[in-house]
Subunit: 250 residues, 2 copies
């Protein structure tokens, strides 16, 4: 599916490695964010880590998965397809985001690793039990789901009304915002801003409701106009965030 410098052992081999929750990089953002003490211990007791190489399917639509979990590292894409093959990405998940719907075993969409991914997995059944007994956990999950819902609706506006150029600018702004938040240092606001693209052109097209050619054309046009800079297709630099924001349509 994707040629990467990584062990293509064909197994999706689980690599167990128990990290203490206290040292977890997503401790503050994941489902467990509101938990501590006993609740955290209980979660910790049923967690398991697993890694997926880029391109590997994590979960297929219609499949019954025994697991749910949090993204520790990497990017996961959620995709829905029509029987004739047309496909639309319906979500893009980053570290801290939750994969799987508690309460509904059958997956409604495909989940695929867009980059190399590490998940912190919980078996569905004990997790759902814990959910019932742990209000903070349920509260956090509700909060996260509402955030996802808002994001999905923002995307409805994008897919329903924005031009190709606006869609691309919006997407890049979202990535820039994420990169900005991830960068701890207080960089000057106007400085040229650089970040990697976790998606190929094809995946961007799938996310933005466009074709690969349209994405490519608008990317090169944005570069020609100086709104964007990149040499590698997989990373961009934004000379002026405000200029890009102005292209996003809102």
């Amino acid at each position: 599916m994707r040629a990467l410098a990584m062990p293509q052992d064909g197994s999706g081999a689980p690599r167990f490695s128990h990290v203490a929750c206290g040292d977890c990089p997503i401790r503050e953002r994941a489902v467990c964010a509101y938990c501590d003490g006993d609740a955290l211990d209980a979660l910790s007791a049923i967690k398991t880590y697993r890694e997926y190489p880029a391109g590997r399917d994590i979960l297929a639509a219609g499949e019954v998965s025994p697991m749910v979990g949090s993204i520790v590292r990497g990017v996961v894409k959620l995709t829905k397809s029509l029987p004739d093959g047309r496909a639309q990405m319906v979500g893009l998940l980053f570290p801290g985001d939750f994969v799987g719907h508690p309460g509904r075993a059958e997956a409604a969409y495909d989940a695929t690793a867009a980059t190399e991914v590490q998940l912190c997995l919980f078996q569905r059944q004990p997790f759902e039990t814990l959910l019932r007994e742990t209000p903070q956990l349920e509260k956090r999950l509700l909060d996260m789901t509402l955030t996802e819902l808002d994001a999905a609706r923002e995307w409805l506006l994008l897919l329903g009304r924005k031009t190709a150029r606006e869609r691309i600018a919006t997407f890049l702004m979202a990535l820039a915002g994420r990169a900005r938040r991830a960068a701890p240092a207080g960089l000057p606001d106007g400085a040229p801003f650089c970040f990697p693209l976790p998606l190929t052109r094809g995946e961007m097209a799938e996310y933005l409701g466009l074709t690969i050619e349209t994405v490519s054309r608008h990317m090169t046009r944005l570069r020609a106009e100086g709104v964007l800079a990149f040499s590698d297709a997989r990373s961009v630099s934004v000379p002026d965030l405000a200029a890009l924001a102005a292209e996003a349509g809102d």
Copy 2:
């Protein structure tokens, strides 16, 4: 906004009428579905009914609303807009559905009555307190939010990849399904199926990411082809549900 045979008193005047929860038409479907006894009493104590004429704004994006609530009767549309006026409906809510996000006071989108609407409202603060103390309530809200999220993602596929014809067929199928579920009697599966359209052509266009002309044209074409029948623009009859389903693309 919409000329209707109804008191345009300009007040959105609250009309209080305490219905016992036991007699409530949405008792089984609303947030309160999993509640009983004390929890239901507590909810009942803070509820209030309010009616909105078709076309009335219930809540404007960015506005801070002191209320959340359930739809008792009628249809509510959720809309997001770009600064230049382009607008996209991001949700269509029916009786039982919940309006407003607990935990975030500021509305992320406009909510407007598409038909005459009756809401069962709760003041945000006491409701959120109750939410914290009542696991069934929180559980139900999580379930409903996950359902909304799935619906939104289904719509992403529609807006991102479906043709105008497929979008319209999908929408009509969804309405037909809802009407079917609402009709208690076991009608024969193949019978011509009739239901009202809660939306104008313009609103359908807003929901489907199209223009009013495109919706109109495809509706009349579907009628010409016998997939659909209607005399009034505000109601349709489907001679063969399977034929319509085949047009929906999935």
